[in-house]
Amino acid sequence: MAHAVSNPAGAHGGHGDGHHEEHHDQESMKMFGFWLFLITDVILFGTLFATFVVLRLNTDGGPTGAELLEMNGIIISTFILLTSSFTSGIAVLEMNKGNKRGLILWLAITALLGASFIFLEVNEFIHLVHEGANIGTSAYWSAFFVLVGTHGLHVSVGLVWMIALMIQLGRRGISPVTKRKVSIVSLYWHFLDVVWIFVFTIVYLMGVM
């Protein structure tokens, strides 16, 4: 047994593969763990949606969503976010081809689209506050700002995460570890897109109906 230590590189068939496999296991385990995290995030958003639906008529005599929400801006930001989901998909395809530059480029485009989504959302919030609807106006607006804002907060966290990943990719290139990280962040990004579809439908479309 002692010679296995003195000559670790010599045991190529044995634990050279073992190391590789352990690494692979670790990465796939992290991927699985992230899927489970997404389940918990679904519950988190589900609770916020339930609260919004329960409180949607409680405007306390104040402004309603139908009066203040402007659909044009929302449709634009919806398309921006959907497009960013598409570009993050392209980034993953580039990664699978092993093209580091393409990967970083498409991630940067995704982040840029995400940032413009956040920019539009912040503008919308400022506009609403000027129109006299803030978080303390009524239960409806409390639920509105917290639900939409939590989604926005998730997107913002995703942005910071993506920038950190681009730096890591620049330094380390595509490795099993960075590959897993990109896969996870893109999973997260698609997830936020799906949540947004529900926000768009339940908060905005049904709100102005």
Partner: protein, 656 residues
């Protein structure tokens, strides 16, 4: 200047109560003593490298257990203070505000900061060993979970000497818990303390689901897992689905209080019942989260001390899983009196009765496991035997409560108090004690004194019945919960005195347990072969305490109760399994980030409580920096070389 400082201190510290002043002085003195001992014996580095930064599941488990025993002490003192106050009519031992604070902190601490960490401690120590793994799936995250729990608990507990305790009940129903009803800081401490530790619990849930599904020893099929592992799996799945609801609920309450939103307020279109629904959609699964692992422990203990395979393995698995499913459909039974109508109440009454069925199945499984077994009765088995009748009574009073029309009578009376203490003490606490006694030799490598353990056992059990049986009667006599005083002519005093005596018997029992531990450390009896109870599962196949890497060679599993079968094979003269070649073991490196990041959360939470943004914002920035530092560090693991494994094994097993 001096006046300003005085003014600040009088707002910062809780003043004016001799009990709390005494506590402040003693906390201050013990802090100084701890700092002195650590500095005098030059233990700071040891503390940091061996414990605070450790990602070893066994050490994290031990830290969870130590923290939970401290919390048991605090929650227990709260309970005794309440019982003293209720021992005579119109007693003025605690004033009403103080009484409110004490029943609130008693509930929160016992469930969230005693039962939960004790449970996580046992998860951590036992699960990897039982499935033949070297650690949990995400050791770094595991350490983070512990420190989030720890700093959350500290934030909650500090409220009692700084700023004021929460006093709106353990689930903080609005509108009382809103700014209008609780303008003080206590409620903010409540929100942030529970929020921070709750995030840690959620992460633990995910961590153990992945550990159990992905890290079992080669050959171990799901239906060959020890029953405790099944119970942890069902509990962790329940955590995953329940805890996000708690996070959102507390967050919304915080937004109400901090930004003036109207989720649960009476004005502005808010809906307080929404909070009560949400908190119980977490709260009801939560009680199953803590009881399911206790069921797992009983299954392990019964089978080990009956020297028999667990009866009805498949039905046990089915029962655990169906309980964790149905636990999400019973929440409204906590407020049948809300007025949601007969149909809603009927639905929740039925689901509540339904969930008693799988629990009953389990009781029969344990009884049949014992039937015709070779029984022995060391302390873990005694707790198990005591649990069965206690939990059956508690379960049956629960079914009484589930009858919605009858519940209008029982609601918020001492009948309810007696019921949930019976299932929580008789089920959860007895279960975790059984587990603690059972796995103690595995954790620490020495045995606990059995005689003192038996004294503690009898004091706990007799104390329990003396304390809580009278409360059923008191409830039927009309005594409602959260009373701090009652009139002479109510006729409640005799039973209240009996109940108080019972509470103090349980207090004595705790002292016996502390004595038992101290005595066993003093007269240290080393555990030699690691198989303290002639056990059945894999944790008993390795030395006690387990080495850093747990298993030098990953075990090959072919059946349920693998270690028992292996011992049988050897006893029958079959050759032992050939030893495979040792290979370097892949291990995670220690990290200080979990500790620092949780400390940052504490700082942020403390800042939000006091509305000091200059403190809260740097705290949150600290959290973000910690996450980024972790993301950028790639050198997070190492290999233990073979010769080191050989040396460790030889020293531990005393061979070769």
């Amino acid at each position: 200047m001096l006046d300003k400082i005085k003014q600040f201190a009088s707002e910062f510290f809780v003043t004016g109560d001799p009990l709390i002043l005494g506590a402040q002085v003693s906390i201050g003195l013990s802090l100084v003593a701890i700092l002195f001992v650590l500095t005098f014996f030059k233990k700071w580095r040891w503390l940091w490298t061996e414990w605070l930064t450790s990602v070893d599941h066994k050490k994290i488990g031990i830290m969870y257990i130590i923290a939970s025993i401290l919390m048991l002490f605090r929650g227990g003192v709260d309970a005794l203070l309440m019982r003293v106050q209720l021992a005579a009519p119109q007693l003025e031992f605690l004033n009403p505000e103080h009484y409110n604070a004490i029943f609130t902190t008693h509930g929160v601490i016992m469930i969230l900061f005693m039962a939960m960490p004790l449970m996580f401690g046992l998860f951590n120590i036992v699960v990897p060993l039982q499935i033949g793994a070297r650690d949990v799936a995400f050791p770094f995250l595991n350490s983070l979970s512990f420190w989030m729990f720890f700093f959350g608990a500290m934030l909650f507990n500090v409220s009692f000497i700084i700023g004021g305790s929460p006093d709106a009940g353990w689930l903080a129903y609005p509108p009382l818990s809103e700014l209008s009803g609780s303008p003080g800081l206590g409620q903010d401490f409540y929100i942030w303390g529970i929020q921070i530790s709750g995030i840690g619990s959620l992460a633990t849930g995910i961590n153990f689901v992945v550990t159990i599904l992905k890290m079992r020893a080669p050959g171990m099929k799901l239906m060959q897992m020890p029953m405790f592992v099944w119970s942890v799996l069902s509990s962790c799945i329940t955590i995953m689905f329940a805890f996000p609801i708690l996070t959102v609920t507390l967050f919304l309450l915080f937004i109400d209080r901090y930004l003036g939103a109207h989720f649960f307020t009476l004005d502005g279109g808010g809906n307080p019942m929404m909070y009560i629904n949400l908190i119980w959609m977490w709260g009801h699964p939560e009680v199953y989260i803590v009881i399911l692992p206790a069921f797992g422990i009983f299954s392990e203990v019964v089978s080990a001390f009956s020297k028999k395979k667990l009866f009805g393995y498949k039905s046990m698995v089915f029962a655990l899983m169906s309980i964790s499913f149905f636990s999400f459909f019973t929440w409204a039974h906590h407020f049948f009196t809300m007025g949601s109508g007969a149909n809603v109440n009927a639905f929740f009454a039925l689901t509540t009765m339904l969930i008693a069925i799988p629990t009953g199945v389990k009781v029969f499984n344990w009884l049949f496991t014992m039937y015709r077994g070779r029984l022995s009765f060391p302390t873990p088995m005694m707790w198990t035997i005591a649990f069965i009748p206690c939990f059956v009574i508690g379960g049956m009073t629960g079914v009484l409560l589930s009858v919605a029309p009858a519940d209008f009578q029982f609601h918020n009376s001492y009948f309810l108090i007696a019921h949930f203490h019976q299932v929580l003490i008789g089920g959860v606490v007895f279960g975790y004690f059984a587990g603690l006694y059972y796995w103690w030799p595995k954790m620490f490598g020495f045995r606990l004194h059995e005689g003192l353990g038996k004294w503690a056992f009898w004091f706990w059990n007799i104390g329990f019945y003396v304390c809580f049986m009278p409360q059923y009667a008191l409830g039927l006599m009309g005594m409602t919960r959260r009373f701090n005083a009652y009139d002479f002519d109510m006729g409640w005093q005799p039973l209240n005195v009996v109940s108080t005596v019972g509470a103090f018997l349980m207090g004595m029992a705790f002292i016996f347990q502390v004595w038992q531990i101290a005595h066993s450390i003093r007269f240290f009896k080393k555990e030699k072969d690691g198989d303290a109870w002639d056990g059945r599962t894999l944790e008993w196949s390795i030395p006690s305490p387990a080495p850093l890497y747990n298993f030098a060679r990953l075990p090959q599993v072919t059946s349920q109760d693998e270690w028992w079968e292996e011992k049988q094979r050897i006893a029958n003269g079959q050759p032992a399994k050939p030893l495979s070649k040792l290979e370097p073991i892949h291990m995670p490196k220690n990290s200080g980030i979990p500790f620092i990041m949780s400390l940052c959360w504490f700082v942020a939470g403390f800042g939000f409580v006091w509305d000091w943004l200059w403190m809260a914002i740097p705290g949150l920035i600290g959290v973000a920096i910690c996450m980024l530092v972790r993301s950028f560090s790639y050198d997070t693991d190492y290999y233990i070389p073979v010769d080191e494994i050989e040396r460790t094994e030889a020293a531990l097993r005393g061979t070769k």
